[in-house]
Amino acid sequence: MPRETSEAVNGPARFVDGRAGTEEVAEFLPCGTGERLLALRTTPAGRPATGGVLVCSSIANDLVKHYRREVLLARALAGAGLAVQRFQYRGTGNSDGDPADLDRDSMVADAATAAAELDAAVPGAPAAVVGTRFGALVAAEVAAGDTRPVVLVEPVLDGSRYFTEAFRAKLMQGLATAKGERPTAATFRSALERGEVVDVLGTPVHRALHDSWQGRTVVDALAGPSRPVLLVQFGDDLPLRADLAKAATALREAGHDVDVAQVPGRETWWYLDERELIRVGGGGHRVPGRAVAGEQGDAPPDRPAVTDGLIGAVVPWVAAQLSAARSAR
């Protein structure tokens, strides 16, 4: 079956992949503020979807690094008969908006806009929510009031901690290049309080984003109705992250049905260029059967293994949860 593309000026673009049996639609969705966000929907081609999946991406360099994995995950989910809605928050990516206006309210509102679009595409079908890294916080907030299954991939579990990590990443980069007096995380927080922008590895952190996520956690956001939750960690040869283990326990105590999956591979979050990390003595992780990043010649560092592992963990889990939800209706 051939592949087809179609376009309309100022309208959605479509790509049908007959071999994969998927159809993709890219369009700009209005958000009620006069601004629009880029939304991308992947569905089974030529057959109705049996469920929907909303994907809440991360931000900054994490968005770039994980981008292709989410595209491939969406295509794999569509191959399993599900419609997948991805989007880019206003103030990020290809959407409209000023990054200075990016905050918790706008991010959750954009996720709700995308969720409504998904509902319209597959009316009445059960849905799940996937969030990666910072997107996990958004996913938890947008799903807070219902019982949709939630998948959290390498999640940022605490908004406050994310910015501490961001400032730490900035400091690590500075270690390799800065001379003289070195700033601290407190220096950056003071700058935000003065209304300045903090440059974290080439991405601006504004006060609105920083302040609006302080004290917000995934566990608190999911304090409502019980639901299935899948926590995914990259690195099947590592102990479970302490914060992830703690969150799993807390979510179980809150009545959720929690699964944890550890998939092969690693990701150097924050750093768009692995060499930035190599300069400060990190990176160079060893994955069984694969070369060390930076020594592997032509091969992209461990990306296929991570992607395959992610798809292998998430697709069957989501398909099973949505199948169970359909049966229960």
Binding site: R3, T5, E7, A8, V9, N10, P12, A13, R14, F15, D17, R19, E24, A26, E27, F28, E35, R36, L38, L63, V64, K65, Y67, R68, V71, T92, N94, S95, D96, Q173, L175, A176, T177, K179, V197, D199, L201, G202, T203, L272, D273, E274, R275, E276, I278, R279, V280, G281, G282, G283, G294, E295, Q296, G297, D298, A299, P300, P301, R303, P304
Partner: protein, 299 residues
């Protein structure tokens, strides 16, 4: 300048390339159209139509305000495009994707192009422009990888003496010693040193004849100059690509540049332009690109 473009002036597309589809976003001019189409070729590391901190998006929307059509796109196997992932090899840039994009624009009446490429994308832009110089109004490289090296091997592929010299220049002895406190860093440096020593013993190591500039970089540059295509280089003052460029000027590259006269512009910005890793360098590079493009003849 007219008002900056927004998504109201943009539409996403999938451009057919054989059985596959290249995803892109076309930004229409919000000012009077000048007939030039700017094509943004992405850097490596799976960077998409967005670029670091939306640099590609911001650049497209700013240039559209000056009357340019701008298309940013994902290579096949990257971002929203279809197809399997391919290794980013500097000596094998993804030219087919770019030619499909240029043909698609040409079919829509846009037949004069400015190509903008960062790092790997610079090689793509040069290779594509080399094949159709008559249609190209200019090529901006911000910055290009001047010599060839494998993915993630930029520093490791340098001659040992040069690698040490650059490491010391970058952070001083204290910084190098500080890094070597990490056992992982020590292991990595030991392995790199052993590899270099082994290569030298076997006669395969880079010595005086080290190729600072790839023939795949000089050849398209030479052809563009012959075809009178303006070329802009933007380098960060202290970055590796600039140091390679300077070292390479003693050879064939220098002859080409000397013969190019005003066709070739070299702009130096502070910091490291490769990767556009700070807000300041992003602003400087975008300003340099805009100023250079504005000076190009539009017809």
């Amino acid at each position: 300048m007219s008002q900056l473009a927004t998504t109201a002036a943009e539409h996403p597309v999938w451009i057919p390339v054989g059985d596959e589809g290249v995803f892109g976003i076309l930004t229409e001019p919000t000012g009077p159209p000048n007939g030039l189409a700017v094509v943004v070729t992405s850097s490596g590391h799976w960077v998409t139509t967005i670029g670091t901190n939306r640099t590609y998006v911001r650049l497209a929307r700013r240039l559209a305000a000056d009357g340019y059509h701008v298309l940013r796109y994902d290579y096949l196997g990257v971002g929203e495009s279809s197809g399997p992932s391919r290794p980013y090899r500097l000596d094998r840039p993804f030219v087919d994707d770019t030619n499909a994009v240029l043909d698609w624009l040409s079919d829509r009446g846009l037949r004069r192009f400015v190509l903008l490429g960062n790092c790997y994308g610079a090689r793509v832009a040069m290779a594509a422009a080399e094949g159709r110089p008559v249609e190209v109004a200019g090529v901006a490289l911000y910055p290009p990888a001047v010599r060839d090296f494998g993915h993630g091997q930029r520093a490791a592929s340098l001659p040992l003496r040069e690698a040490v010299r650059r490491a010391l220049a970058r952070g001083g002895v204290r910084a190098v010693v500080a890094k070597l406190r990490s056992p992982a860093a020590r292991r990595r440096y030991r392995a790199a040193l052993a590899k270099k020593a082994g290569a030298r013993r076997n006669g395969h190591g880079p010595a005086d004849g080290f190729e600072w500039v790839s023939p795949d970089f000089v050849r398209p540059l030479e052809r563009l100059v012959e075809a009178s295509v303006p070329v802009l280089f933007v380098f960060g003052r202290d970055e590796d690509f600039h140091l390679d460029f300077q070292r390479g000027r003693h050879g064939r590259l220098g002859e080409v540049l000397d013969g190019a006269g005003d066709l070739v512009t070299v702009t130096i910005v502070e910091g490291n332009a490769h990767g556009l890793g700070t807000l300041a360098v992003q602003d400087e590079v975008m300003a340099a690109l805009e100023a250079w493009i504005a000076a190009l003849p539009v017809r």
